[in-house]
Every structure is written in structure tokens, then in C-alpha cells.
């Protein structure tokens, strides 16, 4: 039996580069101005999985991502870097899912891929920094969990030893399989794309992407089945629609408020020696410093 490692990866808007043009005049977020990227800690998760694969014979790394059609990019990127294959959960009925509904869908997809040894997620996705989907999925699968993994210390067919990064220190733990792991951003960076894999899988596509091509490549994909990226809908994972999307999400956004800072009466200063010195003097005199 092969050793199956499932990686959860998400495509996210690059909130790290939120510039001024990221906000529209009406105060809403201009998603178009934010490039979609591979969630950074999910790349650490992918590397963690690939390192396990490097040490175990017949190990297989499978990426699962839930998102819109274009999230197939995440699967291609994973394959270029060494993953064996991927599944894209995509369906309008998933839209609006909070972390509970997301973990429900992802857990069902993982059950379809059973038996497996490891489920590896990033610690958190930068679009919300919730760090919830990993543990929530683990709970739904009844798996023990190791959060904040920083280093793969050792792994065999039977067990795994992992160093964790905590707020104030480190901890080394050991576990048997099956197990869920969430990987911290301080773990090893992901290896780059492999040139050979890039050539081989450059045209890997989902059915939806193929249907948008102007030319008919069906024969090519029949000849080379490894180029097919499978899409799964709500029916494919036998999900209860009520447990998905808005209806399956207990958290609701009641209001969104623009931040209007209550302007204080502030003193505006320039950078002349005099102005800086006066300020420092004032701070000293009022015993705020000194």
C-alpha cells in the first residue's frame, strides 16, 4: 500500500501588498487589484509533505484545494514543485463558506481519498489569518493533530517526529499515523519548480479550462491522462448542500464598517532641528521621557 500524503492548499489574494489602490472609493475591497497567490504557509506545508515523501518509499503527495476555477493554478504549481496530483473542489454551492463549511467539504474530499497517512495544511491563510481550517478538518476526520510544525525531525512508515514552534519555545512530538499536521511559516521554504516537471505538466488542465480552449485537445488528454486535473463538485463528494455555503456557515457578517479615525488635534511638525528639539524638550518637560 502506498503512503498517501494529502496537502491542503488555498489560493488567496495577496493581502501583504495591500496598497492604496486596493480600496475602492466606496470603501470596499478591490479584489482585482490584489494578485492571487499560493497561500505562503501552504507552500511550507507542501515542502513538509515532499520531505516526508523523500524519505518514504512509494509515497504519494496529493494536493486538495477548494476555490473558483482559476484555483487550478495552485494544483499546477504544486505539481511543478513535486506533488503527484491534485483535486480541485469547485462548485458555486461552495461559495460563501466560512471555515466550518470549508472544513466540512475538505474533510469529505479527504474521505474519498482514504486510506491516507498524513493530512498537511498550512497554519493559516493570509486572507483571514484564522488558522481554523486545519484543526477543524482534523476534528471531522477524527485525526490527532500537530499544529505549528517547524521541522520534520524523522519519519518512518510507522511514525513521525516533528518539532513545533510555539509562542515561547519549541516542542518535539511523536505520533503514529494517520495524523493531521499544520505547518508554520518558519518551516523550510518550498523547493522551486522542477524544470522537467514544468515541461511535462505545463499543459495540465481541468475540464473547465479545456472547454475554454479554442482548439480541441481532447485526444491529447486521452493519450496523456496525467494532464487531467480532476474537478469535484458537491455531488462528487456527496455533500449535504445545507451544510455548505452561507446556509452551512454559522458565522455571519453583520456589518462592515469603514474605519474613520477620529482625528485628534495633532500638531504637525517639519524636520528642522528647532522643531525636533522643541518636541523633545516638551516630552522631557512633561516627563513622558527622561
Amino acid at each position: 500500500m502506498s503512503f498517501k500524503i494529502i496537502v491542503l492548499a488555498k489560493q488567496v489574494p495577496d493581502t501583504r501588498n495591500v496598497g492604496k489602490d486596493a480600496m475602492k472609493a466606496d470603501g470596499t475591497v478591490n479584489r482585482a487589484a490584489l494578485p492571487a497567490i499560493y497561500n505562503p504557509e501552504d507552500l511550507n506545508a507542501l515542502e513538509f509533505a515532499l520531505r516526508v515523501k523523500d524519505q518514504i518509499k512509494d509515497a504519494e503527495v496529493i494536493v486538495v484545494t477548494m476555490g473558483p476555477f482559476r484555483a487550478a493554478e495552485i494544483i499546477r504549481e504544486s505539481i511543478y514543485r513535486g506533488a503527484d496530483k491534485g483535486f480541485l473542489l469547485t462548485d458555486r454551492k461552495f461559495a460563501g463558506s466560512d471555515t466550518l463549511a470549508t472544513s466540512y467539504a475538505i474533510a469529505l474530499a479527504i474521505k474519498k481519498l482514504a486510506p491516507y497517512h498524513l493530512v498537511v495544511a498550512g497554519r493559516q491563510a493570509i486572507d483571514g489569518d484564522t488558522a481554523q481550517v486545519g484543526p477543524q478538518t482534523a476534528e471531522k476526520l477524527g485525526l490527532p493533530q500537530v499544529t505549528y510544525a517547524e521541522e520534520l525531525v524523522a519519519v518512518t512508515q510507522k511514525d513521525i517526529t516533528i518539532k513545533r514552534r510555539l509562542e515561547r519555545g519549541v516542542e518535539t512530538v511523536k505520533s503514529s499515523f494517520p495524523l493531521a499536521v499544520t505547518v508554520h511559516g518558519s518551516a523550510a521554504d518550498c523547493r522551486p519548480r522542477n524544470a522537467k516537471r514544468l515541461m511535462k505538466y505545463k499543459h495540465a488542465k481541468t475540464l473547465t479550462e479545456l472547454q475554454n480552449e479554442t482548439k480541441d485537445y481532447t485526444h491529447l488528454y486521452n493519450e496523456r491522462p496525467y494532464l487531467n486535473i480532476e474537478e469535484w463538485t458537491v455531488e462528487d463528494i456527496d455533500a449535504d448542500v445545507e451544510a455548505l455555503g452561507l446556509s452551512g456557515s454559522p458565522t455571519k457578517v453583520k456589518t462592515i464598517q469603514n474605519v474613520v479615525f477620529q482625528s485628534k488635534d495633532s500638531k504637525a511638525l517639519g524636520t528642522s532641528n528647532e522643531e525636533i528639539n522643541d518636541l523633545m524638550k516638551e516630552l522631557l518637560d512633561s516627563h513622558i521621557i527622561g
Binding site: V18, T172, T251, T255, I256
Partner: protein
Amino acid sequence: MNNIFVYCEITEEGHVADVSLELLTKGRSLADELKIKLEAIVIGANLKGIEKEIFPYGVDFIHTADDKRFFPFTTGPHAKILIKLFKEQKPEIVLFGASSIGRDIAPRIASALKCGLTADCTSLVIGDHEDKKQNKVYKNLLYQIRPAFGGNIIATIINPETRPQIATVREGVMKKEIKAENYKGKIVPFDIKNIFDEVDFAIQIIDRHIEKQKINIKNSQIIVSGGYGVGSVENFKLLFDLAELLGGEVGASRAAVDAGFAPHERQIGQTGVTVRPKLYIACGISGAVQHSAGMDESSKIISINTDSHAPINHIADYTINGSVDEVIPKMIKYYKENSK
């Protein structure tokens, strides 16, 4: 209406963690407003006497589970106990610290109980909600307030239908305050007989190095904080020089941490530390909500920024329109020549 529960974390030294005491304080005031009781849960080893640290915060019931296998924390047994307890007690609200432990376990609980969870709240308030579509009014919900996606907006999250309403809050966001030194509640030992499976103890800890908190930004009275605009690790050294001179600490924005100018432990804001110093000098920080959420209660704020319209300037007492590398050396020079 049922009660509010706070999960109390136990520190290396065997005390209740600050973040939990802060949440007990908040829990007490929410409980008063809702006219319900406040309950605490402590899971650990050798808990004898721990109630003395907890009752003064106005706690009516303490649920304890005491066993040598419960410390150091592992997810399995703690989650098992909490899920069982909450299924029996059906709390109205549950609060966890947004710590390594709280953020590990809270999502498991929410997943098992199929209820909502909001991470990193910066404020918790009771309020009503009218669902116009269903023509339904929900009374006394917990508004879980946090900055949201992309900054510049604050979202109020609610869980109208599901219970408990679960939230995590970072250390320092709420203030801790003793209710009454001799407040008396009841201790309720939790029966752990026959509840565990082998899988609950699947994780074996083989080594631990936990340090006492090294950098103490939270309690520092003066903070010199740098953002992306500081530009380089070298320029950040200027901030360290000034902070040292003033007897303060150096903080950083997330963009500065991401750029590698400062380590994550110095990050201030929604996903970092919350601070309330006497003086906060914001150097090259634009002032996104996620940042200001962690420092806007500072007594005096000075902003040094090349952009006179930077949002941070709205909350600053003094704004210096100029470059960090020009201004800081001048401050250092004046201070050296004129203090004492």
C-alpha cells in the same frame, strides 16, 4: 439563557495565564450584562489551589480536570473534555485566548459542536440583530468585532443560530481586573472516567524548551515602532538606539516583520501584541486598522512619515512630516545632550 465559559490556560510555572485572566474579566462584565453566570474550565496537572487565582475574577463555577497526563497541553484529552462538557452544559458563549494553545483547540471544539468561531477579536459587545429577510429579531447576541480582509474595515461577526458563540482574543487586548478578593464560587470536578480513547493520547511529547517571555513589549511604557517605511535592517538599528536611550522597546508593523526588518515577536496589532504605552513613536508606519487596533490606546502618539496624509496621522498627537533616517538621529542627539 445559559452561561459564559472561559477556558483557562495553565502556564509553565503552574499559574493561570494572563490572557485567561483578561478573558475572565471580560467574561464577568458580559455575564453581568446578560444576567448569567461566569464559569471557568481548568485542565491540568496538580491543580490544587488554582481556584484561589480564579475566583477573585468573579467566577461562579470552576470546572476542573486534574490528571498528570493533562500537562503539558496536548490537543486530544483537552478537546475531549471540552466537547463533552459543552455538550452537557450548552454554554451561551465560550472564550479562548488566541495563544498557541487556544488557536490549536478552539477550532476543534467549534468543528465538533458545529458552531461559529471568530479568531483574534479586538472587541466583544452584546447587541441585537434583525434579520429582515426572515423577519426575525435576535436578542443579546455576542458581537465579535475584528478588523477584516484587506484592512481599513472592521467587521462585526455574529452567530445568530448556533451555540455556543466562540471567540478567541489575544493577550493584552482585554484588561484584567479583580472583581473581589473574596468572591466565592463552586468547584465542580469533571468526571474523566472512561471518556478517553487511545487516539486522544496519540501525540507524545518527547522534548520541550519553553522560555520565559524574552521581549516584553506589552509592559513597556515607551515604544519606538517601525514600519515598512523604515526601509532596511540598518535603519531599524536607529530605532533600537532611540528605544534603548529612552528605556523603551522596539515594536514593528507586520509589513516590517514580513520584510525581515524585525522578528515576529515584536509585531504590534491585531495578529501581534496589543500595547498601551505612555509614548508610541510610529516610524514609517501607514496605520492600517490591523496595526492601529494594537496601539490606538497609547497615551501619546508621534508619527514620523514622509506622507503627511498617512492614516496614522489621524490618531497621532504629533506628526512629523519627514524621513525616519533624518528625524531619529536628531531626536537621539537632542536627548543625549539634554537629559539629566
